[in-house]
Amino acid sequence: MRSRSPTLQWALHRLGLNRLLLHLLLILVSALTAAPYFWALSTSLKERRDVFTAVPQWIPTNPTLQNYFDLFHMAPFGLFLVNSIIVVTGILVVQLVTAPLAAYVFARLRFRGSGFLFALFLIQMMMPIHAVVVPNYLTINALGLLDTRVAMMLPFWASGYAVFLLRQAFRQVPRDFEDAALIDGCSGIRFLWNVLIPLAKPTIIAFSLISVVTHWNDFLWPLIVTDTPAVRTLTIGLAMFVQQESGADWPVLMAGTVFVTLPLMILFLVYQRKFIESFMYAGLKG
């Protein structure tokens, strides 16, 4: 990472801005972007009478967790949380098995139709989810899986995107490595496990984080294949909760909103570097 950009200094100098102004500007922008979430967090910790004050209380004078307890009484958010965790990990674990195997084949083996098959994987990557919702629904229905957690995971178990990213990573490993390993009697699968996967670790981490964020936040597909609260994920649970509350109890609604985002936000704040690097990396490759 470059630490100094003489160009910008020059540009700032030309604009008559100095570093202090730069920081002030960035603090202003950051405050503006952070405000919506902070305001929701603050609202969720307020007593009802503190919500409608003449001067907005950014920091609650009487902080309370009561809204979160109310939330859990009004809708099974604990269950939603468990469902979200199951779905997200279920998708990721299977992806991490299928994707490296497929990527290894596409990166190393030449066979009749390999180009065509890889093109099919790329098509999956380019297809917006909205275009395949109906056929996928019919498939899930035919399998008798509607309204189950498996239904929410199944379509994502083979990810064209993961295969693509990993294939690119595997191809950067020199072929000589593999030849040397094969001569020494190493099997292809062992080479994949002991050499390619450790070398592709940054790609795997990047993909994993993106997969978790995507499926944690997914709305359309879980909404379509679920009917009962017992299998719903957090995002669907929140949307249903908002509908049934018809929006008057703001502190509880904000408690729900914050609760849905909190697990990812905590992960993000703790591992922010990894997250940001992963999204940068995948954004450039993908």
């Binding site: 950009s5 160009t7 922008v29 919500v51 709305f219 703001w250 609604l253 997250f275």
Partner: protein, 252 residues
């Protein structure tokens, strides 16, 4: 309810005709155009500006700014919508509260035909610009420092020009900034092109200071307009960036 016609029959483009006759359809098209035309340029401009600012040496605060700009990307849309419905609440929302403090009358936001779309656009910009900022930032950080050092005194006023090196950034970028300089910036990357820095520099050619007309942005073309209004091609061998690269040691 009419029963479903037992046998489907061909009606040509009638369904399309019906759609085009529907005033609601045109209203929706108009909304889409306004939404796209308003959201994308602002998102990209904000993303690029923030990326350039964040590429500067900022110490520890850099992480804070990055997190603040990027976190909306990680929030599910269902939750983001709730945050903004609350902020935009006409009666007790924070936004109307501060607008009132500025003496602006209460706006119904999402309940008003004219204000609903802008309100949604703001939400969309807030949610998405951080992601594109990261892409630009990655492009800027992959830019060799030498290119920045050389380009800068030669009239490349922002390092973002180098983000063009990156296809992901370039895609979004090309639509935003069409400047003559980009034209040969791209050419420069193609070996063997007339601007290729590997071509030997003629000893009598000297790097020269840019003069104004060359720096005027001209939409879409790699040329500037001359004083007579005719398109003036810039001569490859007079290309200042090219000179700067080749004659780097002697520059300045």
């Amino acid at each position: 309810v009419e029963p479903v016609h037992p046998e489907p029959y061909f009606i040509g483009l009638e369904n399309y005709a019906a759609m085009f006759d529907d005033p609601l359809f045109w209203r929706v098209v108009q909304n889409t155009v306004v939404y796209v035309a308003g959201t994308i340029p602002i998102t990209m401009a904000l993303a690029l500006t923030m990326a350039i600012l964040l590429n500067e040496r900022l110490g520890r605060m850099r992480n804070v700014y990055r997190v603040a700009a990027f976190y909306p990307t990680m929030i599910p849309m269902a939750a983001a919508a709730m945050l903004w419905v609350w902020l935009l609440n006409p009666g007790i929302g924070l936004i109307n509260h501060y607008l009132a403090a500025l003496g602006i009358a209460r706006i119904e936001w999402l309940y008003n035909m004219d204000w609903a779309l802008p309100a949604i656009m703001v939400t969309s910009i807030w949610k998405n610009f951080g992601y594109f900022m990261l892409i630009y930032l990655a492009g800027l950080q992959n830019l060799p420092e030498r290119a920045v050092r050389v380009g800068q005194p030669r009239g490349c006023d922002l390092p973002a020009e180098g983000a063009l090196d990156h296809p992901a950034a370039a895609g979004a970028h090309v639509g935003v900034r069409h400047r003559g300089r980009h034209h040969h910036l791209l050419q420069r990357l193609r070996p063997g092109a007339p601007h290729d820095p590997r071509r030997a520099r003629q000893p009598h050619e000297r790097p020269r200071v840019l003069h104004l007309p060359e720096r005027l942005p001209v939409l879409g073309l790699g040329h500037g307009l001359g004083a007579d209004g005719r398109v003036r091609r810039r001569h490859p061998r007079r290309d200042p960036v090219h000179h700067a690269r080749v004659g780097e040691a002697g520059a300045l």
